[in-house]
Amino acid sequence: MVSNKSMFQQFDKLFIPFITAGDPNEELTIDLALILEKCGASAIELGVPYSDPLADGPVIQQASIRARRNGMNIEKAMELAYKMKERGLKIPIILFTYFNPVLQLGEKYFFTLMEKNRLEGLLIPDLPFEESGWMRKKCDEHGIYFISMVAPTSYNRIKKIAENAAGFLYCVSSLGVTGERQSFDERVSDFISHVKKYAEVPVAVGFGISSNEHVKKFFKISDGVVVGSAIVKQIEKLIPLLTNANTKQSGLQEFERFIHGLLH
């Protein structure tokens, strides 16, 4: 039974970075995850590249395309989590995937793979509360945190969603898909404190967080942040360095500096 439980010992200043499995390649995804842990990540959101990522903005779409070109798919992405753990990653890994790939693996095989590959969490952006009852139950049975989301438009749905959350509650900062934002609506603070009223698990804010300033802002008013596009965009920028054996190390160092700058 994991529902209503936090997946973290610590309950604030959670930093949950998103990276796409296989972008730019499997080995580098592991390297990047290890650096994120080193920089203080509380968990890794590992994105499964998908043909039709309709909740994602252009940056993560592009990462999906790169990863799929490398032959990445949901099975390999899950195996990649295992490899991360083998390479020493300690923090939990949350599989971020659209619903259809999960569906196609089938319940039994999917959960076999989740367990076998030591995945601790699951986030399905297109499986809202009403459609996820069964999945939440199954996750619970398998000791997997099914991460729920609330959005600025959730209103009277917040209570129900928050009360049933597991791991942490993903609070969508603003309308729209994933991607960087210059600034946030004034109403976001009210929204977050409203959400926190109902949540027994930590509340982390995501969508658009892309600067140190944003991180600081949300560390103040919520329990943590999810950072996706800003990181993925940095990875995209570093691909030339990262994929050249001679410059890989300096690329990784650059990445580390970037993450450090984001957080401190």
Binding site: L54, N73, P101, L103, Q104, L127, T153, G176, V177
Partner: protein
């Protein structure tokens, strides 16, 4: 109608597989729709627009020459091609735009493949004084310049979609992405009976005028119902509109999917025939996908059937066996289009020609005491370019 249920499910199909952000807009839409459908003044507005603007009721034509040519059952055509803008799409666009207006939303979002739904959306946006953004894959923009121009002429903004394969499925993705960001003041005018609940139901309700009229016209003339009713199935809006009033009658219903180059070649859009269950564009249904649930780009000569999914109600009707879904190849459709043109003087959309092809095939197996009703969903003017290419053009004396 016993379904969809409160979750928008048609048996195991349907539902709302969308980002949390869209849940409230969808609930609001559901409410507004329920309210509108039970409001006689809304119904009157809708029917007035259909009649005085789009020219409904559309004719029910006895295809006497085709019947004679084929030999067998009497073939009747429900003439959705006579609608304003040339296809059944306008029925739905009018309904949704009226609803949008009623909800106080004056900005429309729509997706389009070949441009038919885009033109219908741009049309109603103009008539209701609304803004309209039409998302369209860059590939499709290239292939359908005339329709792009038509939309612009009508005052709509055509937004090129460069993600994915740059075709219809990606246009839907992009439209949904835009909607997620602007759901507070925008209305997403979906073009077929697909997408998350309440779209499949809403589109059905705004398209059932096709079947309601046809049933009444046929009954008034012959005192009985046709034996077989046939419609083509892309997303499934014309088909569900035609079938709905016949579902509880003793009438054989056949949905016709695009067989492309043949369902065995892999190059087709025969979603029910060859697809598997999964989620696409917010709905549980049949779709064309690989083992990892990644969507496979479909193929059909007809842009309007070239969609990898299908409305969830069709998935359900297929599953329970109430409707039979079969497929017709490009070649068979073109042949039927030519036959219909030469015998009846009607240039059908290639989409609709799929239904005609199946109708011809079935008619041969029936007696002249029996009748087949085919939904002629649209006219073929938009397809003349494609046909010319296929047939080698004027130069070849065709």
């Amino acid at each position: 109608m016993k379904y969809p249920d409160e979750y928008g499910r048609f048996g195991e199909f349907g539902g709302k597989y969308v980002p949390e952000t869209l849940m409230k807009p969808l609930y609001e839409l559901e409410e507004a729709l329920k309210d509108a459908l039970s409001d006689s003044s809304f119904q009157q507005q809708y029917h007035q627009m259909l009649q005085k603007y789009s020219g409904r009721p559309t004719a029910l034509t006895f295809a006497d020459q085709l019947t004679k040519h084929v030999g067998g059952a009497n073939i009747f055509l429900k003439r959705e091609d006579l609608n304003h803008t040339g296809a059944h799409k306008i029925n739905n666009a009018i309904g949704q735009a009226l609803l949008s207006k009623r909800m106080g939303k004056k900005k429309l979002i729509a997706e389009t493949g070949a441009g038919q739904h885009g033109v219908a959306s741009a049309t109603v946006a103009a008539k209701f004084g609304m803004d309209c953004k039409v998302f369209m894959g860059e590939e499709d923009i290239d292939r359908q310049r005339l329709n792009v121009f038509r939309m612009q002429l009508l005052g709509a903004e055509v937004v090129p979609v460069t993600s994915g394969n740059k075709t219809l499925k990606d246009a839907v993705n992009e439209a949904i992405r835009y909607w997620v960001q602007h759901c507070e003041d925008h209305f997403y005018l979906m073009g077929s009976a697909v997408g998350p609940h309440p779209y499949p139901m809403m589109v059905r309700e705004f398209q059932r005028i096709i079947g309601d009229e046809a049933k009444e016209q046929f009954f008034n003339e012959f005192g009985k119902l046709p034996d077989v009713v046939i419609a083509c199935v892309g997303g499934g809006s014309n088909a569900i509109g035609m079938f709905t009033p016949f579902l509880e009658e003793d009438v054989k219903l056949i949905g016709v999917e695009a067989g492309g180059k043949g369902v065995e070649t892999g190059e087709h859009a025969a979603t029910i025939t060859k697809g598997t269950k999964g989620v696409i564009h917010g709905s549980m249904t049949y779709l064309l996908q690989n083992q990892y649930g990644e969507i496979i780009e479909p193929y059909s000569i007809s842009a309007g059937l070239d969609y990898p999914g299908v409305g969830p109600e069709h998935a359900y009707l297929a599953k329970i066996g109430r409707v039979v879904y079969e497929s017709v190849t490009d070649e068979e459709a073109i042949l039927a289009l030519e036959t219909l043109a030469k015998t009846e003087g009607i240039l059908a959309a290639i989409e609709s020609a799929h239904a005609v092809a199946k109708g011809i095939e079935i008619a041969k197996t029936l007696s002249n005491e029996q009748s087949i009703l085919i939904c002629l969903s649209g006219r073929g003017d938009k397809d003349v370019h494609t046909l010319m290419k296929t047939k080698g053009g004027v130069e070849n004396g065709f």
